[in-house]
Symmetry: C2
């Protein structure tokens, strides 16, 4: 029996060698082998050629029709398709191998009793496919056709370039991230419309296209949960995404798992670091509070990132019902098998029409490198200062004000030995003043939690970003080097392709840099305002307390 496939969506051929297919058209395949995301076969009109593997579903020998997948509802903005097994992409190794975190701290299961309650019992749902009709509606966006075509040709010409060699250092971030593979045209895979990530040109340079449906997500105080009849306990965070209004519960290990997926998926996007783990005292109030605040910052950076906020795995994390274990596992497995990770991530990027001036890009990236270095250094110093200042307020300042309070009390106590009528009011006022200064001491001790700690939390998430950028910059630098090397290539097409791919990486890098700056300005403005407002309120409370004390002397 001939190997057959059914077209899932319309595909219009744009290059020689491709054939067009129409939704539901039955195709005969030459082979099941997917080469750089393409299958070869014949359509119902007798035309033979290449068509995207992800646009069709291969029918098993027994099947006369495809199984309609049981796509889960609730994911509106980043639709998922169950196309795992139709998208077998040659060269996409990382989706099957151990996730590469290329230097990012991922720590799946190290402390957070990463039990296997949702890792075991593989279901057979992976054999079925589900598809989201929205993919169909979007597929003929003009930009998409370009990107698919350029990628196709890139794939075909990868090995034609002789001048631009491979990096010998297989541990280089450029290599590990897939940046090199992509630049050299070795990445290839089918990108659905919904997977496309557009970079647009703004007055400030390339920027990620904004999320048209922005949302936020709150994180509640975690609650302690137990399982195995109370033998094991863990903290569960209540999440409420604004776009679904469906609360879900997630454990830290879920965040951790998500983080690992994102890092693997997006080589030139700065995935916000999760708050630090702490092996002992996991349930101590302070730690829980600190982690929650860290997660809130993390979530804030996730939801405000135009790319991260929309990606499938994050949406799965946010929207999959906590009680629907089956759907959860399905989404989990799908994410872990995602083929658009590493090098293939770059395939998803749709750059602005006009290519960037690579010299200008280099200068901008160098400038940003200097910026991050300086910001990182200064944050270290600021953190030391803030930490020291917090400590001083909580100990030294508090003590000093309390000692002054005790001094006034002492004077008042001596005065109380004189119980003349005209002395009594003064004595009381003195005692009150003493108590006032003791209270002011407490105010000082409590204040850092209100103002310096949030600043410190902010700095922590930015330290994470700053730690991410050297690798991101390294990928862009690597691409730029390849582009420069390719100048010598006699093969003009190869040089052109490498430049084009370098442009894609540069666009993505600059868009990420721009996003970083925008977020930074937003966050630091808000945080400084918050800090100053807290400080003002603090000093006003002190003033009010002192006025109260002063008032006591009116009768004295």
């Amino acid at each position: 029996m001939a190997l057959r496939a059914r077209a899932l969506y319309d595909f219009v051929s744009e290059n020689p060698g491709e054939i067009s297919v129409v939704e539901n058209e039955m195709l005969t395949l030459y082979s099941e082998d997917v080469v750089d995301g393409w299958l070869e076969g014949t359509n119902s009109r007798g035309e033979s050629g290449l068509f995207p593997a992800s646009y069709v579903e291969i029918l098993s020998s027994e099947e006369g029709f495809s199984l309609q997948g049981n796509g889960t509802a609730g994911n509106v903005y980043s639709p998922r398709t169950g196309s795992d097994h139709v998208c077998q992409v040659r060269g996409d190794t990382s989706s099957e191998s151990t996730p590469q975190s290329h230097g990012y701290p991922t720590s799946q299961g190290s402390d957070d009793d990463w039990d296997d309650d949702w890792d075991d019992n593989p279901t057979t749902t992976t054999a079925t496919t589900s598809h989201d009709p929205r993919v169909h509606q979007h597929k003929h966006q003009p930009s998409r056709a370009n990107s698919v075509s350029s990628r196709g040709s890139a794939g075909h010409q990868a090995r034609s370039s002789a001048t631009v060699g491979k990096n010998l250092n297989r541990f280089s971030t450029f290599v590990k991230s897939g940046g090199e593979a992509f630049v050299l045209g070795e990445a290839s895979g089918l990108v659905r419309d919904c997977d496309q990530i557009c970079v647009v040109m703004s007055q400030f340079g390339p920027e990620w296209q904004e999320n048209p449906h922005p949302f936020t997500c709150t994180i509640d105080d975690p609650t302690k949960q137990t399982k195995f009849k109370g033998m094991k306990s863990y903290m569960s965070y209540g999440l409420l995404p604004s776009h679904t209004q469906n609360p879900v519960n997630r454990r830290y290990k879920h965040f951790d798992w998500l983080y690992a997926r994102l890092v693997e998926r997006f080589p030139v996007i700065s995935v916000p670091h999760l708050p630090e783990k702490q092996a002992t005292g996991r349930f101590e109030e302070d730690f829980i509070c600190k982690r929650r605040k860290g997660l809130i910052w993390w979530m804030n950076h996730m939801t405000s990132h135009p790319v991260l906020s929309r990606c499938d795995v994050f949406q799965h994390f946010l929207t999959c019902s906590s009680s629907d274990e089956k759907t959860w596992k399905q989404g989990k497995r799908k994410a872990e098998k995602d083929h658009l990770v590493g090098a293939n991530f770059f395939l998803t990027i749709v750059p602005p029409t006009a290519p960037l001036d690579l010299q200008e890009v280099e200068s901008k990236v160098d400038g940003f490198k200097t910026f991050t270095k300086k910001m990182d250094e200064n944050i270290v110093q600021v953190n030391v200062t803030i930490g020291e200042f917090s400590r001083k307020q909580m100990t030294g300042f508090k003590k000093e004000y309390q000692k002054v309070g005790q001094a006034f009390r002492l004077l008042g106590q001596a005065f109380e030995l004189d119980q003349q009528a005209y002395s009594v009011d003064l004595n009381q006022a003195m005692a009150f003043t003493g108590a006032t200064y003791e209270t002011i001491g407490d105010y000082f001790a409590e204040q850092p939690r209100q103002d310096l700690e949030p600043v410190s939390d902010l700095l922590a998430i930015y330290q994470g970003h700053l730690a991410n950028f050297p690798d991101i910059i390294h990928v862009q630098k690597g691409a730029l080097t390849k582009a420069k090397e390719s100048q010598k290539d006699k093969d003009m097409q190869a040089t052109h392709d490498i430049h084009e791919r370098c442009n894609i990486i540069s666009c993505a890098t600059l868009a990420e840099i721009q996003h970083f700056h925008r977020t930074r300005v937003r966050d630091f403005k808000a945080q400084m305002q918050h800090y100053l407002l807290q400080q003002i309120s603090f000093f006003q409370r002190i003033t009010a307390k002192l006025e109260e004390a002063l008032h006591m002397y009116d009768q004295a």
Copy 2:
């Protein structure tokens, strides 16, 4: 030629043995010897007997009339008379001997180039007498007649008491202050109306009769003066008493001289201590400022004391023109020859009609002793705390706030490397916030001068008072012991007299204690209010600065 005297004022005899005299009446004296303040002679009506020595002036053999003295103007409230040589009082030894400072720190001429420009060239003005007509007007106040009579009798019966012996310890304050001599009836001298110090009974117990003409005196910033063609320089303080509105200039040595006179003059009055001397760096700004503030406090305590404010020597100090050297020296010599010092001081006290319950007095004085001990101890601790707190604010707090300011600046500086249009306002706001915290640091450093230093100055003057009181209490205790001893005396009159004199000392002591408490309540109330107002203003200034900084983010 018979020894003659002229009556300066009317005197009405009230006891057997006394004779009345009328102003300007010529008297024949039996002898020039003054016994316990009394002279013996015959009046123009042929009556023979005793009359107060200070009410007459002895005429030299050559004189047919007294020389009218050149009394200085301007001393309204505490009139001076030039009666030095007509008031030779038996047993009044201290007025001629070296001034006894009984433990008070007097340091006449030790550091303050106590040159003799107004000590040399003794003029002959001491031979002349001057009298103030107001003395005349006041002399028949009812209380005075009592006191003179009782003192007269006390003087006469001094040696009739056998039971109550003298203290063997001649260094005891009780002895040195003249308290013992007074209680034993050995003090005797003539007290003019204007020298009388009335103790009245208030709801709170014995109190000094208020100064009916209260006044204040400002002290200007000292100016540097030179003499000997610039060879010597000294600081001169401009004083402006409110009751004369005549500015006078005084040097520290003048204050010091005055202080010594007052200590000698008033055994149971707590003469405020002068601010500390400083041998080196006399002209350093800080020291000058500190001494001036100390002198202001001192002056404030002087003018608000009902007895000290009215006494001759203080009035002389306040009112004698700085340029009228002759009058100054006259007043100076007179003060140094004052016979109403030490034991005789007690002669000037007019107690309330009803004698005090000595047991109650003892309990009150004991209570006060406990009070002063506690207050003294606590002030020491408060001073340590305040000093430490000042130091902390001037160094640690300032440094902390400046470091925070620098931290914000640092962040701002890193941000400045990103000169995107949307970043510039934030960068400026950050820099401004940094500057704001540096300013707040300065505020902290400057603040103690505004609020803690005045408290410290106040505590210093009270430490002086608290150092005075043990001696004062010792005098009263001594008197009480004598009164107790006298119970065994068979001589009822002697016992009665000792009790009466102990009552006088007790009244004076309690009046001084009461005055201390009233002043203390007044001063500490005012100072605490000042402190709190300064603190409120301080925190308000910080708040305003922070609001300014916050406002910078409106455009960011």
